[in-house]
């Protein structure tokens, strides 16, 4: 009978949901997460569409349930090294990066962080503010433990410091900690590595990186979030002013044969939500969404975008902007796009128009995690030409990868939003349950 344990790679909402379902089925789950805390991209969101639930409110209970489950073994700050064997009997080595913190002793109190002198850009807040070298990714992190970021810690750089060691009353700092390598035997593997935002700087015409007030969707999310760097005040990067007119540009890098030919599926609703949040915070604020096709395809999505138009001062302009320039002294971005103007005689003329706004949000394409390609080779998995994990039979087995016994759910295998990722996570759990259940036939059957 194959081993009754499962490896889940990726601690975002998909990985968490798959782990909870598998653990509730009585299987032993090893959840490997690259960063110090589970939560993934969803932890960075302020609200989620279309219900405007606060993201952390619905994510934190799942994180606590997952980490607290007897059958789930959390391996955070770790990566999968090597995978051998086949369905029912995989041998996996997992490399645990040293946190230089004794997890049993650390209570996540945060005294060390206050004293640590070293400040570095905070990835969780998309680099918009700083964190210390000894840090917890976000207040509701699970596990609620500190981590020392060896690359930026002064002690590792040039010796000395160790201020955190002095302040920690629990004696949890341990600079001698070594990398741990773990050998696991699992019956199946579920991949849920999620997505990275595509760097919009590639599209020179939008000037990301040069135009200060052109930011990405995720950066906006951190600005508008109550636990973000500006505590929810939408302060634009150039002068900290709260913009009264903002523009969202869709399909930045998506649906574009020069960059990513596919549609990332979530950005239309993501932009609509962010526009609603802006107006919720600042009732006088107006927002424009430059779109090609307004893809509001899920449950309650149409009603959500209608409400955006009727109640939240959002207007949709069907056009793909050609360029963004900036007005030097006001540092306001100016969006250049083509529009069709109808004369009275029913004739129409196409002309270039411009709209000066105070903040531009680029809704960039979303791509599988950077580390995803190397992991795929490592596990012998095929990728499709867009870089997603290839699924042999999309219709009958939508979560089975090219390697029997390895399943993939969430954004790593195709662009999808949170509910679809959660569904695919449970689907992967079902496929694992079938594979590992005693009287199941060989994995080749459907």
């Amino acid at each position: 009978m194959s081993s009754q344990s499962v490896l889940v790679i990726g601690g975002g909402i998909a990985g968490i949901q798959a782990s909870i379902d598998l653990a509730n089925m009585g299987l032993q789950v090893y959840l490997v997460e690259r960063t110090p805390s589970i939560g993934g991209r969803m932890a960075q969101l302020d609200k989620t569409f279309p219900t405007n639930d606060c993201s952390m409110c619905i994510l934190a209970p799942k994180m606590i349930e997952c980490a607290g489950h007897d059958n789930v073994h959390l391996l955070t700050y770790s990566e999968v090294d090597e995978v051998r064997g086949e369905a029912g009997d995989f041998k996996v080595t997992v490399r645990g990066k040293p946190r230089y913190i004794d997890l049993a002793k650390c209570t996540g109190c945060g005294e060390c962080t206050e004293k640590c002198p070293r400040r570095v850009p905070d990835e969780f807040n998309m680099g918009l503010d700083k964190r210390k070298a000894i840090y917890m990714p976000f207040p509701q992190a699970v596990p609620r433990k500190m981590t020392i970021d060896a690359e930026n810690c002064l002690y590792f750089a040039k010796g000395g410091c160790r201020v955190c060691e002095e302040t920690c009353q629990a004696g949890a700092i341990d600079f001698e900690q070594q990398e741990e390598v773990l050998e696991l035997e699992v019956g199946a593997i579920v991949i849920a590595t999620g997505f990275d935002p595509y760097d919009p700087a590639a599209l020179k015409e939008y000037g990301y990186g040069e135009i200060e007030n052109a930011i990405t969707g995720l950066e906006y999310e951190r600005l508008i979030c109550a636990s973000g760097p500006t505590e929810g005040h939408l302060r634009r990067p150039s002068d900290g002013k709260v913009p009264q007119v903002i523009a969202f540009i869709q399909c930045v890098g998506s649906r574009d044969v020069n960059y990513k030919s596919y549609c990332s599926s979530v950005c239309c609703m993501h932009a609509t939500k962010e526009a609603i949040l802006a107006n919720e915070h600042y009732p006088a604020l107006r927002s424009f969404i430059f779109y090609t096709d307004m893809r509001a395809v899920g449950k309650q999505f149409q009603e959500y975008s209608i409400r955006a138009k009727d109640e939240y001062n959002v207007s949709y302009i069907r056009s793909r902007p050609g360029r963004i320039t900036v007005d030097e002294q006001s540092s306001n971005p100016i969006v250049w796009y083509d529009e069709t103007v109808f004369g009275e005689a029913g004739d129409s003329v196409r002309r270039v128009a411009s709209k000066e706004v105070e903040l531009v949000i680029l809704c960039q394409a979303l791509v599988p995690r950077g580390v995803h390609r190397e992991m795929a080779e490592n596990l012998g998995l095929e990728l499709d030409e867009s870089g997603f994990l290839a699924i042999q039979d999309r219709l009958a087995c939508p979560v089975d990868t090219s390697v029997p016994g390895i399943f993939a759910c969430g954004f790593c295998q195709s662009p999808q939003d949170i509910p679809d990722s959660v569904v695919q996570a449970s689907a992967a759990a079902a496929r694992v349950a079938e594979l590992l259940s005693p009287n199941s036939r060989k994995p080749g059957d459907a």
Partner: protein
């Protein structure tokens, strides 16, 4: 009744608490509280040595209650309850007092009043602890079988997945054959496989699987009971059979909107829906040279605001099929947005354009008009981009309509006591994080019964439903946290307030020893306590949050405010 012996453990949490709250004073103050027999403070109560000191005190002092004053119960309560249980004390004789997040961390500049507040919070915690009672978590048996309502692609996939996990499954299908809506298709999207390639293996395995029993031409007549023990009556042409199952999956799918009265449908013979096109034209009928498809028919309109999600990909599939059969055919698709989300549909959308399919955008204000008296001859449309009117010759007009809920969903929703959403599809527990579960435990939904879903999405949801429906069965029993409500038979006057307010239908009026009283189904009760607040006579109480406990906390706080504070 042996005197209640309360142990209080006040935590320093390093100096997170101790740095602001003068813990020794709190410890002293707690010593004088009624029934308190031992008070301790530790640097880290949640550390190994903190937990072991609690266990020791429980043994040494024979404690019958434990109160820990430290951080937040939301993360640490399970940890301390575990420790109490290991020391032989019922885990519900434990009370948590938050003096970190709610006290020391937020009153850093006012240690005096933070200490005063911590003392009062401990007093309130001890006051409640004195009235805590041991509880046993209720376990109800789960019958090892599942019911799947609907034998379409979603129903069959869910049934097979459960059966492959070794679970007995009953599938109830209304039609005489399995296959559902997909059976009416010829080719599938995006793989352009023939429908049989997907359906035949599924149908064979379902019919052949030893763990699956199929009832064709049958309907669910009645469902009673709750998670773990549903009694289901299935009616097949006249005679009923009784089934007992632990969980239920709704996979009843949806039906194509027949847009009568729109664009000449049902009056002009050559105006058909996508499904009718699939049946009639794909079986070899001669193909018309000019085909105009109109999308968003009866969708994203005021009377039906939702988007049909995959009708655009159906239109693209059939447009591509037409161009492949006859490259010179003129195929145009009139749309308001092309919902080609994801990788595959976007590729096909670009592929269709490369094959010469014309996509024209129209506006809801001036929709296309089908011209022709007895037969459709052309379609006039205001081209939104070019801003001028275009007349497209049309030998065949294909209307792309969304799926709409089945008429009898209402009946099934009443039987299962699960809600329908505003559009008439089944309403899930949580749109984002529990998309295929109902708030009523033990019942799940997948496929277009929840919302129009393409085949891969319906199949994913089917597997997900199988995972969820399998869990209670594999576990064999369902544990309910002992914070449920109970009704005191002697004092209940059966006024019915509790029955009205319960969001989960867990309370009903029944004949009891003392006449009619409210009776609670513990398995259904989620422990919100709404009924307790609605009960004038206080007959309904909630374990762990009963009126004695909460009132004594108020009393402890109001102590000394008024002579004769409520003890």
């Amino acid at each position: 009744m042996p005197k209640t012996r309360v142990g209080v453990f006040v935590c320093h949490c390093g100096n997170n608490i101790g740095g602001v709250v003068r813990v020794p004073e709190v410890v002293e103050d707690a010593r004088h509280l009624p029934n308190v027999v031992c008070v301790e403070d530790n640097l880290y109560t949640c550390s190994e040595e903190g937990l072991s000191s609690i266990k020791e005190q429980i043994a040494e002092q024979n404690l019958s209650r434990v109160v820990v004053a430290s951080c937040t119960p939301r993360t640490h309560e399970p940890l301390f309850k575990e420790a109490c249980e290991e020391a032989g004390l019922n885990r519900y004789l434990f009370e948590f007092v938050n003096i970190r997040e709610h006290c020391s961390w937020v009153h850093r500049h006012d240690p005096a009043r933070a200490t005063e507040k911590a003392k009062e919070l401990v007093r309130m915690g001890v006051a409640k602890a004195r009235y805590l009672e041991p509880q046993e978590e209720f376990e109800s048996e789960v019958f090892p079988a599942a019911l799947v309502v609907g034998g379409g692609v979603a129903g069959m996939t869910a049934a097979l997945s459960l059966a492959n996990q070794g679970i007995q499954v009953y599938v109830v299908e209304r039609e005489e054959k399995l296959g559902g809506l997909v059976r009416e298709l010829r080719t599938l999207f995006p793989t352009e496989q023939d429908t049989g390639e997907l359906l035949s293996p599924l149908m064979e395995q379902v019919r052949g699987h030893p763990q699956i029993t199929v009832y064709l031409g049958s309907e669910v007549e009645n469902v009673e009971g709750f998670i773990g023990d549903f009694q289901v009556t299935v009616g097949s042409d006249g005679q009923n059979s009784e089934l007992q199952v632990g969980t239920v999956i709704v996979a009843t799918g949806a039906q194509e909107l027949r847009p009568s009265g729109m664009y000449g449908y049902s009056t002009l013979p050559n105006v058909v829906t996508q499904l009718e096109f699939e049946e009639s034209f794909k079986s070899g009928a001669d193909l018309p040279p000019n085909v105009v498809m109109i999308n968003c028919v009866g969708a994203r309109v005021p009377e039906r605001t939702y988007c049909g999600r995959f009708c655009c990909s159906t239109a693209i599939k059939n447009a591509i099929w037409l161009k492949e059969q006859d490259p010179d055919a003129k195929v145009s698709v009139l749309h308001r947005d092309v919902m080609a989300y994801g990788v595959d549909i976007e590729d096909s959308y670009r592929g269709a354009m490369e094959l010469g399919v014309r996509f024209l955008r129209y506006d809801i204000q001036n929709p296309p008009q089908v011209l022709g008296a007895k037969r459709a001859e052309a379609v006039k449309v205001q081209h939104q981009l070019m801003g001028k009117e275009v007349i497209l010759p049309a030998d065949l007009v294909v209307l792309t309509t969304p799926l709409v809920p089945r008429e009898d969903s209402e009946r099934l929703s009443k039987m299962l006591k699960v809600p329908l959403g505003t559009e008439g599809f089944f309403l899930e527990a949580h749109l984002k994080l529990r998309p295929i579960e109902f708030s009523t435990d033990g019942i799940y939904v997948c496929g277009s019964a929840r919302y129009p879903s393409s085949i891969p999405e319906s199949v994913s949801q089917a597997y997900a439903a199988a995972a969820k429906a399998g869990i209670p069965i594999r576990d064999g029993s369902v544990r309910v946290e002992a914070i449920t409500v109970f009704c005191d038979e002697r004092t209940c006057s059966a006024c019915g307030n509790c029955v009205e307010v319960c969001p989960f239908g867990a309370v009903e009026l029944e004949e009891g020893k003392f006449g009619r009283i409210a009776s609670v189904s513990v398995a259904q009760c989620k422990g919100c306590g709404c009924c307790v607040a609605a009960c004038p006579s206080g007959a309904m109480q909630q374990r762990g949050f009963d009126d004695r406990q909460l009132l004594s906390m108020i009393g402890a706080l109001a102590e000394g405010m008024v002579s004769g504070g409520g003890r």
